[in-house]
Symmetry: C2
Subunit: 250 residues, 2 copies
DNA sequence: CGACATGTTGAACCTCATCAACCGACGTGG
DNA sequence: CCACGTCGGTTGATGAGGTTCAACATGTCG
């Protein structure tokens, strides 16, 4: 397992080549600490559609999202469903300090995660306050996002909802910097969700989502290279349609 | 200020008589630590309708809610508003680890809060991991609530929304145990919000809220002693209408 | 090739928003 | 003291935005 190395250099194992090593919660850890985490961690690959955690099960593990997208969903007794969160790399999956899961976690695309056993990880949180602090900050950001989404769900029109969602992805793509298309550096991204998932994320039906997308397409706000590959020629135009929140300055 | 006492007994000052001393984040602190917090804290009384924090201002302070109800709101440029959270005692107000406020905080009723200066409190968080941990747990609970509300906003009907809201208050009243009415111990509570606030919380209009309340009244699911005082004769019936989430057991 | 999943489009319907009138309570000033 | 305006709430009539139901297109996999 461990390569023959000078003993002062900790064995980081897979963590050493991990794509999200510094952005994930692990970023809080020193090399020494990370080598311990490494022994606790287990990579898993999950194909699209698989359920990762169920609200029927107790919390069994936590995980970092390494690649792909995970959707967190809640369901009413009659089957109505709502996506209450999307996890991208390097987000963290799992409800700390609770024995029960408050939602379903399902792979929206093929997904790679790095899992930690429940007990071991909670012990780690106790031992490394920096780790807990990092997780806390991530949680605060999630809370901010959730509340922004509440505005969308409660007050925005179908067109604004779809535009907001596309804007979210376009901005992510702009930051991540991976423009798939050669198209002169215009924000371009791959849809990670089906129409059905988008509907569940926006509190709409599939049909309405489809109609709004074709509308944005015909008005030229967006372009589709194929059914899943989007280009946004004018981010400001899209942002305008998305119905922005009150800016901080009055 | 400090009463002449044996020096081994820390001066808890107002904290000693504080109604939320043990439930609020302060519950994480020893008497020694609390006596220090006490010097940092300042009680404030705020009348209904006053703005406590604006998203236009930087984060200036944090606070414990001691009595009353605070609403957290977000607004779109054209004035559409959404309440993204309600704070009851002993909830915590303020976004830690950020220089800007993500929302408005407004007193829904007359409110008593216990304020801490921003810098002093963040220093305290660093020094007392237990305090930060407690705040973390509160944040996790807020996130759970926010996500539950997303299901309501995205997927529930007007009737279910109103019923869910009343159920929320009725359950709170049942726990807090303060039944205002002599009515044979039926869950009874005072509405802390105007119809307009309720509408902003549920993503509806005032008119729809009003109509749904009268509907629940005429079907006997709820009774009104006056415009603000509600009685729930049958919690299960109300819960049924509220459209429960999928129970943990399949 | 047929079966199935994903997505699009059309037509009818319905829930909820909108606009408007009205009510009672309250406070204020002439 | 009463007229007046305001505020919170209720009720009615109307219509638009989105859902529902249904048909069809497209792509994929055995």
């Amino acid at each position: 397992m461990s390569s023959p190395s000078v003993e002062t250099v900790p064995d980081l194992g897979r963590c050493d080549h991990c794509a999200v090593r510094h952005q994930a919660v692990c970023g809080a850890l020193s090399d020494q600490e990370l080598s311990r985490v490494n022994q606790l961690a287990r990579r898993r690959t999950i194909s699209a559609g698989q359920i990762i955690m169920s609200d029927e099960d107790p919390v069994e593990f936590f995980a970092n999202v390494v690649s792909g997208v995970i959707k967190l969903t809640k369901t009413l007794v009659d089957g109505r469903q709502q996506i209450v969160g999307l996890l991208f790399p390097p987000d963290f999956l799992g409800r700390a300090f609770s024995t029960s899961n408050p939602y379903f976690a399902e792979a929206a695309t093929d997904v790679e995660i790095c899992c930690f056993a429940h007990d071991g990880f909670e012990r780690l949180l106790k031992e490394y306050p920096d780790l807990e602090h990092r997780l806390f900050e991530k949680t605060l950001n999630e809370l901010d996002s959730a509340r922004e989404w509440m505005v969308l769900l409660g007050r925005k029109t179908a067109e604004e909802k779809v535009a907001s969602f596309l804007l979210l992805l376009a901005r992510r793509a702009a930051v991540t910097g991976c423009s798939h298309a050669s198209a002169a550096l215009l924000p371009t991204f791959q849809l990670p969700l089906t129409r059905s998932d988008i509907a569940d994320y926006l509190g709409l039906t599939i049909e309405t989502v489809s109609r709004q997308i074709t509308r944005l397409k015909t008005t030229g706000i967006i372009k589709l290279l194929d059914n899943r590959l989007f280009v946004v020629p004018d981010m400001d135009a899209l942002a305008k349609i998305a119905g922005q929140e009150l800016p901080p300055v009055h």
